[in-house]
Every structure is written in C-alpha cells, then in structure tokens.
Symmetry: C2
Subunit: 212 residues, 2 copies
C-alpha cells in the first residue's frame, strides 16, 4: 500500500510516519519509483504497536525504541519480551514517595520477596517502588514494618495468577506486547479506582455516613 | 514557641511558614512584640499536615486549601472529611486513558457499582477513571465488557474492608487526614508494585522463563 493508505489505515499522519522511519522504529517502505514506496501489513502492525505505546503507555521515543528492538530480537523468549515491555511502563501513583537512604530498606524488600517464593528479576523496577514505600512509611512515623505488605502480596498473587492464566494466545510478538501494555495501564487504573470506591463504601458502613 | 523553633520542629523554612500564613492555610501566631509572635502546638500539627499533603500527596496550594478548610469545618463528619481528602488525591497511573465519548460508558459504570451494592457518592472521581478504562478497552479493540472488572471489584472489596476495619483510631481530625493521605499514596504504590512482581513470577511459571 502507499504511504497515504498506510496513514489512513493506522490513523497516523504521514509526517509522523516519516518521522518514525527516520528515527529507526519503522522500516522504510520498498521503493517503487523515485517518490513512492510500498508498505505492507507488517508496517501497519508495527504502527499500531507504536500508537499503543504512545497513546496508552505514554512512552517517549527512547523507550519505544527499546520495546520495538525487543520485539525484533528473536533471542528473547515471550517471558523476557513481556518483562521488558512491562518495565518500560514505569509505575507511578498520584502522590510522591521518598527515596530510601538506607541499604537495610532495600535488603528488607529482597528478603520479603524471597520469602514469598516469587521468581522476579533484580531489574524489576517495582522493587524500588516497594523500598520507597517502606522508606516513606518509616520517615513519616507510620512504622516501617514490611509485614504490613503481606495482605497486599496475598491479593496481588491471587490476581496475577488469574491474569496470567487467562492471557489470550497472542497472534504475534507485537500483539502480545500491545496486549500487555493495554492490560497493564488499563487494569492498574481499574484496580486503584475500585479500591478507592470500595474504601468509600466501607468507610460509609463503618463511620455511618449517610447516602446522598 | 518562636517562629524559629516552629521551623526547626516542623522542618519547614521560616519563609515558607510565612508564605502559608499569607495564603491563609496557617493561622498567624499571637503577636508578643512588634516583630515577634508566639506559635502553639496547634500550629505545629497544622504544618505537619501541610507537609504531608505537599511531600507525600503531591498537592498544590489550591487543593491544600480545600483539605485544610475541611479539617476546620466541624459540620463535616469523619467519613465526609476523609472522602474529601481522598478525592483531592487524583488517581493517576503510568500510562494514559481515553476519555469516554459516549454516555453509555458512564451509565455502564453506574450500573456496575449499583449491582455491587457499594455506597459511593456521585462525586467520587474514581467513577470517571473506570469509565475511561472501559472506553480505552473499547477503542483499542480489547472489548469493552465491564464484566471483566468483576474479579478486580471482588479483590478491591476484600482489601478495602480489611483496610477500613484496621484503621487506627486517629488522635485528631488532622491526624486522620494525614493517615489517610499516607495510606492512600503509599499503599496504592505497594499494591501496583506487588501486582507487577507477582505477574513476573506467574509469567515465569507459565512461560518457563529461567531464573537469572
């Protein structure tokens, strides 16, 4: 297909498509004349992946380059590929956490995860989030006892087991990454929103607020 | 105490304390001479609350004003006060969600919450997050069936019931708000981080990635 057709099919403007080719995240089309090139369904699939990474994942170009390179790197297996896509989506929340200034906090997180028996890589950025959460609780006098995380770990384990078991079979590596990005971003939002709504409900039940 | 002592005790620089007084979120001290004023433990408690709202909650001055006004408004009961503090912390996640362009999406969320039997106010901003999540799934072809949220709602219900039941008795309205802000920000981060770690673990189990 021509670049104009590729643009219509992907919903991405022609100048943006040319930008992606220049930046090396999209292969150039096959030249058919001095001013025209031919694009395939492979190009379209790649553009759809990039669009998801930008629009849903909120990734910048440098992170998109990493993810796209991982999709193309056939030495990575599916588990490694999804891990990489996952790590590119930095977890962020509504407020701020403090940076732990003490190696004991990081060691406590390592021990906690080991005791759970979870197989997680040292590179998973969620480890640092847990350490920062622990440091924040300690510095605000809330008490830095990591055992308070246990009920959360039990629920997270239950949820993740279910989520991984019901992953639909992906048609391709790009489709698997797309599904992982959408699933992560959307269901993190769903989980936090439902927790807040449930908290309002249980607070109403316990503290006797009236319906309005 | 003098303003210099208040500054030391709260960890907040004197110019920032004066700024908070000018902006009306901190009562002025009681004048003791032309250039000096006396500050009480009440001032210190208020500064600690403001510091938590800024440093952990990431709130700007206008939202701080709302929260502080609610703490002072004795016509609000604890449930209403905590709800207001909660709503001031906009839920945010690592990626982006699309805005629903269709009233059916919002209606589906309302019906979903009603079917759960949860007592949640129409003003809870988490409703809009759920609608945006549903819209994002629909627009990316992931399927916009809200029943996919059910397992998340069941876990959120379980978690929130536990969290509300174990809330420590707050010494004051300000302390209750502080605890709510810290709890919300820190445990949202903990929950998402643990879910991601558990996903890596279960992905390793299912897809046979090796330990590294």
């Amino acid at each position: 297909m021509k670049v104009s057709q590729l643009s219509r099919a992907s919903g991405i403007p022609i100048p943006t498509i040319k930008f992606y080719v220049r930046e090396g995240v999209l292969e150039p089309g096959i030249p058919t004349s001095r001013n025209q090139a031919d694009y395939t369904n492979e190009h379209l699939r790649r553009l759809r992946l990039i669009r998801t990474l930008v629009e849903i994942g909120g990734l910048n170009l440098s992170r998109i380059r990493d993810v796209v390179a991982a999709v193309d790197d056939q030495t990575l297996n599916t588990h490694e590929l999804l891990g990489l896509a996952h790590h590119a989506l930095a977890p962020r929340v509504g407020g701020k956490l403090r940076t732990p200034d003490d190696p004991l906090t990081v060691a406590a997180v390592d021990r906690f995860l080991r005791d759970l028996g979870w197989r997680v890589s040292a590179a998973n950025p969620a480890r640092a989030v847990l350490a920062a959460a622990l440091a924040t609780l300690g510095q605000t006098g809330g008490g830095a006892d990591i055992s308070a995380f246990e009920p959360y770990a039990a629920l997270a384990d239950q949820l993740a087991r279910q989520e991984v078991a019901t992953l639909p079979p992906a048609a391709s590596r790009a489709a698997a990454v797309e599904a992982a990005v959408i699933g992560t971003v959307v269901y993190e939002a769903v989980l936090l929103a439902l927790r807040r709504l449930a908290q309002e409900h249980h607070s109403a039940v316990r503290f006797g607020g009236e319906d309005r």
